[in-house]
């Protein structure tokens, strides 16, 4: 089967939690005839929405992992990538964004642009994803799509224009006025499948004219033909579509659709919008890095005949073994092809090739450029690039934030302990923001991630999917240490008691550095330290950075320079210079006035105005700095920076002090210096812990 690439769309659905994204995905599947009955997210009928294919997601009513599903709309092929809404899983969102060509930004007609919509929109901007907006839940009390449109402009700075007007709102929503065709569209029948086109109701004619004029006027910015025709009143539908498409692809225009997924209103028109205005894979410029040419940028061509370049963006461990979701950027993937994993430097053969329709799958023989397919049984990690034809490319590396929170876990019994290793192995492969290691001192397994909820979900998944019960410790913030001024050292390591001796002298200085975590500078002149031992010094410093003297956390932002030293013809060795560097570092570290750094989060709290005082109070109690507060009618949004260590249990406290009406989102902002009083406590705790261990 050959697919016309210009009729293919890879889209994602991005939204604030609870704006009805999963329901919308479900309806898209329904109208595209992939599923036969409509299910609700929470699974009233026990089946549940198809996209949320993990049990846990079903239980919590949220979507955690993105699944890609292919559907047919008219003669178009659409791959829908369901993206998670919760901010703690942003790596999942960002990874999906990498493979999307366009997105539907879903907004609630009542809530409008909420804190997470802002985060999600920022991510879309970062990856240059063109988008259309869909204002959902127009059946809810208080629905006001025109207000949401204004928020899109004011809060997100998008050049948003209504493509439709609602006919009736709240429980009276019947259909929409299409401002391009200037017809009313009604969605009738049990599931809204029967579309009836009629004249615009008389009371909406004036508004429709006004908004159409606004729309066409804005669209004509992107097409001279349309601008001319518009002046003469001779614009055609095709001209309008073409101009809007051009503006949307350039990320300078956002067409706004509206409806209600739950009430089956407006979905079909939005799908037309997807096929009309969002790009096909050939219209998106994708760049890979050539690993053979020092990561030089290469533009990929969406051509079947070129050598294959594909990205494995998601792994899933199903009943049948490991499944890897792959986006093909260039060339094709055929059954039996040999591909090269450029990260692992391994060749592998493509065995079974499938296309995923959410929980069901379909065997195929070939994947074309631009398509999203799944491979079976490939040993790889997510984010790996697969190449054919002797290429050695990597898709540009995705921005991966460092984990900011640690949690110790201990298996409850022997069986769990075997399973735990398996589970952790898979999670770390799937999610680059999830790390784990065994702490050599306490011998405990530590998992690290982006937030409390992020780690909680993995603990839950261990229990459910691996039958592995663990006890968790108290979440621990990932502190860092850093020096604040330059300090010199001059250290001699000497050991000459029995056997072969050790001798090395290292002199130089350490100083704070921005941007990078560590740099080693060799400023030795005249060979006072023999060349062969220079890397030993580097090694010694690196070793020292692993554990700071204040509270035992890694040291960052430090440059170590060596400028003098001495050696002994017999007793100098690799280990002697390593130890000399460690000694020198120890000598200088406290003189360099080290400080403790902690992760500071950008927190955005949103709620009804009456709770504003409480929100301010909560932030102030948490050593937070209020950056700004925006008020509008009855809603208020407070943006603040709060240390992560103070954010534990915030959701519970926020809920209880605002009657559950406020919500928040948070993301890592930067590392900041811990105030002295807190630093003193941390240092005392660390010393007490060390003393206890020594006993």
């Amino acid at each position: 089967m050959s697919i016309d690439i210009s009729k293919m769309r890879n889209i994602g659905i991005s939204a604030h939690i609870d704006s009805g994204k999963t329901t919308l995905s479900e309806r898209i599947l329904f109208y595209c005839n992939k599923i036969h009955a409509i299910h609700e997210v929470r699974g009233k009928d026990g089946v549940g929405a198809v996209m949320d294919n993990m049990e846990l997601e079903r239980e919590r009513g949220i979507t955690i992992q993105s699944a890609s599903t292919q559907v047919q709309w008219k003669d178009y092929t659409i791959n829908v990538i369901d993206t998670p809404g919760h901010v703690d899983f942003t790596i999942e969102v960002e990874r999906s964004l990498r493979v999307l060509d366009g997105a539907i930004l879903v907004l609630c007609s009542v809530g409008g642009v909420q804190s997470q919509s802002i985060t999600v929109d920022r991510q879309l901007k970062r990856y240059h994803v063109p988008r259309i907006a869909f204002i959902n839940k127009c059946d809810r009390t208080g629905a006001n799509p025109l207000k949401v449109r204004m928020q899109l402009r004011e809060k997100l700075g998008l050049n948003a224009y209504m493509m439709q007007l609602p006919i009736g709102l709240e429980d009276k929503i019947e259909g929409v006025v299409d401002l391009v065709t200037m017809k009313a569209v009604y969605f009738e029948g049990e599931s809204g499948t029967e579309i009836r086109i009629a004249e615009i109701p008389a009371h909406l004619v004036a508004d429709a004219k006004k908004y159409r004029e606004e729309l066409v006027d804005a669209a004509s910015m992107f097409s001279d033909d349309l601008a001319e025709a518009f002046l003469e009143g001779a614009e055609t539908e095709d001209m309008i579509h073409a101009a809007i498409r051009k503006g949307t692809l350039a990320e300078q225009f956002v067409p706004v659709f509206l409806g209600s997924a739950y009430k089956n209103k407006g979905i079909q028109n939005m799908l037309d919008g997807v096929t009309r205005y969002l790009p096909d894979p050939t219209e998106v410029k994708n760049i890979a890095l050539d690993l053979d040419k020092n990561e030089e940028q290469v533009v990929l061509s969406c051509d079947e005949k070129s050598p294959t370049v594909a990205l494995g963006f998601k792994l899933e461990d199903g009943k049948y073994g490991q499944l890897t979701y792959v986006r093909i950027y260039q060339g094709a993937i055929k059954k039996g092809d040999e591909l090269y994993n450029t990260r692992a430097h391994k060749r592998f053969k493509v065995g079974r090739l499938v296309r995923m329709n959410s929980a069901t799958m379909e065997d195929i023989n070939e994947g074309v450029p631009g398509d999203i397919v799944a491979l079976f049984g490939i040993e790889c990690a997510s984010g790996d690039t697969f190449c054919g034809g002797g290429l050695n490319y990597a898709m540009s590396s995705m921005f991966v934030p460092n984990p900011v929170i640690d949690l110790s876990i201990t298996p409850k019994d022997k069986k769990s302990s075997d399973q735990m290793a398996k589970a952790l192995n898979r999670f770390t492969k799937e999610d680059p923001t999830f790390h784990c290691y065994v702490d050599p001192e306490s011998n405990q397994t530590i998992i690290q991630g982006m937030g409390e909820l992020h780690l909680e979900v993995y603990v839950e998944r261990m229990k459910r999917e691996y039958n592995c019960e663990v006890e968790t410790g108290k979440p621990q913030v990932a502190y860092r240490e850093a020096i604040t001024q330059r300090a010199d050292f001059n250290y001699t390591h000497k050991k000459q008691t029995g056997g072969s001796g050790q001798y090395g002298r290292v002199a130089g200085f350490i100083e704070p550095m921005e941007d990078k975590d560590y740099e080693f500078v060799d400023a030795i002149k005249g060979g006072s330290i023999p060349n062969e031992f220079i890397p030993s010094c580097d090694k010694g410093f690196k070793e020292s950075l692993k554990k700071g003297a204040l509270i035992g956390f890694p040291i960052v932002g430090l440059r170590a320079t060596i400028n003098d030293g001495a050696s002994h013809p017999v007793d100098s060795s690799d280990i002697a210079f390593q130890l000399a560097a460690i000694g020198g570092f120890r000598e200088a570290y406290l003189k360099a006035k080290p400080a403790i750094l902690e992760p500071i989060m950008k927190v955005s709290v949103e709620g009804p105005q009456e709770f504003q005082g409480n929100i301010f109070g909560l932030i102030n109690q948490r050593r937070g700095i209020i950056l700004s507060s925006t008020e509008d009618d009855s809603f208020t949004r407070v943006d603040a920076e709060v240390p992560l260590s103070e954010m534990f249990g915030f959701s519970t406290i926020l809920r209880s002090s605002t009657q559950g009406k406020a919500e928040y989102s948070m993301e890592f902002a930067r590392y900041g210096k811990v105030p002295n009083s807190v630093a003193d406590t941390l240092i005392k705790e660390y010393e007490a812990k060390r003393r206890a261990e020594q006993k």
Binding site: K155, Q612, F616, G617, N620, S629, T630, E631
Partner: protein, 227 residues
């Protein structure tokens, strides 16, 4: 230059001297002019001056998003730091940011009472400001009672308040739009465009009125010029 010098040699010192001490605690000042002459710039310079001295500042904006306001501070601070070659600029900046709170309101739906309530809530939460800056307030939509409330609030809380207003100015005396508020306003300044600079005229200064000051804005940077 260190921070202390920056405060002492700031053109704001001269600004205050020329205006009978400027706007003191419990007082209200207004800067009026046409668009684009530097109202926001002066407000931000006054804000930064307060912040440098370690005071907390609340910047209320009716017409700009919080992000834009922050960019204003960032740009003006960078300009000042560069011009005066400030030591440890990044550190000083971080300190300023931690003492500044930006509030963003929509004047159509948020009344003065609400603004006062919000600032009080902040004060109760532990971030009491010493200066409040209100940019983009439309006096033609406000009523005189709201200014009375603001004045009482300023006196009770011992804070100084600077407004900006985009209004037409008559040849002499206060602009018509400000007349109803006259008794609550302690200082009213007008930015008068000249060929090579923008000169500050005092339309009202405590008990004095209508005189040209020697204060100027640099047309390029919109910073208050050094003497």
């Amino acid at each position: 230059m260190v921070k202390q010098d920056l405060i002492e040699r700031s053109p704001v010192r001269n600004f205050e001297k020329s205006l009978g001490g400027g706007v003191k605690a419990g007082e209200i000042g207004v800067i009026v002019s046409k668009k684009g002459l530097g109202k926001t710039s002066i407000l931000v310079q006054l804000g930064i001056d307060k912040l440098l001295q370690g005071s907390s500042v609340v910047h209320v904006s009716f017409n700009q998003q919080a992000d834009h306001v922050m960019t204003w501070y960032e740009d003006i601070f960078n300009e000042l730091a560069k011009k005066k070659n400030l030591d440890k600029a990044a550190e000083v900046k971080a300190e300023l940011v931690s003492k500044r709170i930006v509030l963003n309101f929509n004047q159509d739906s948020v009344k003065t009472v609400q603004v006062i309530k919000t600032i009080k809530a902040l004060a109760e939460g532990g971030s009491k400001p010493e200066a409040v800056i209100i940019d983009g307030f439309d006096f033609s939509k406000a009523n005189p009672e709201s200014m009375d409330q603001m004045k009482t609030f300023a006196k009770d809380m011992k804070i100084n308040i600077w407004y900006s207003a985009n209004v037409e100015v008559a040849d002499k005396g206060l602009p018509v739009a400000l007349k109803p508020f006259e008794k609550d306003l302690d200082v009213v300044l007008y930015l008068e465009p000249k060929t090579d600079c923008i000169q500050i005229k005092a339309l009202k200064e405590h008990n004095k009125g209508d005189y040209m000051t020697d204060l100027k804005l640099d047309v390029k940077t919109l910073l208050i010029a050094d003497k």
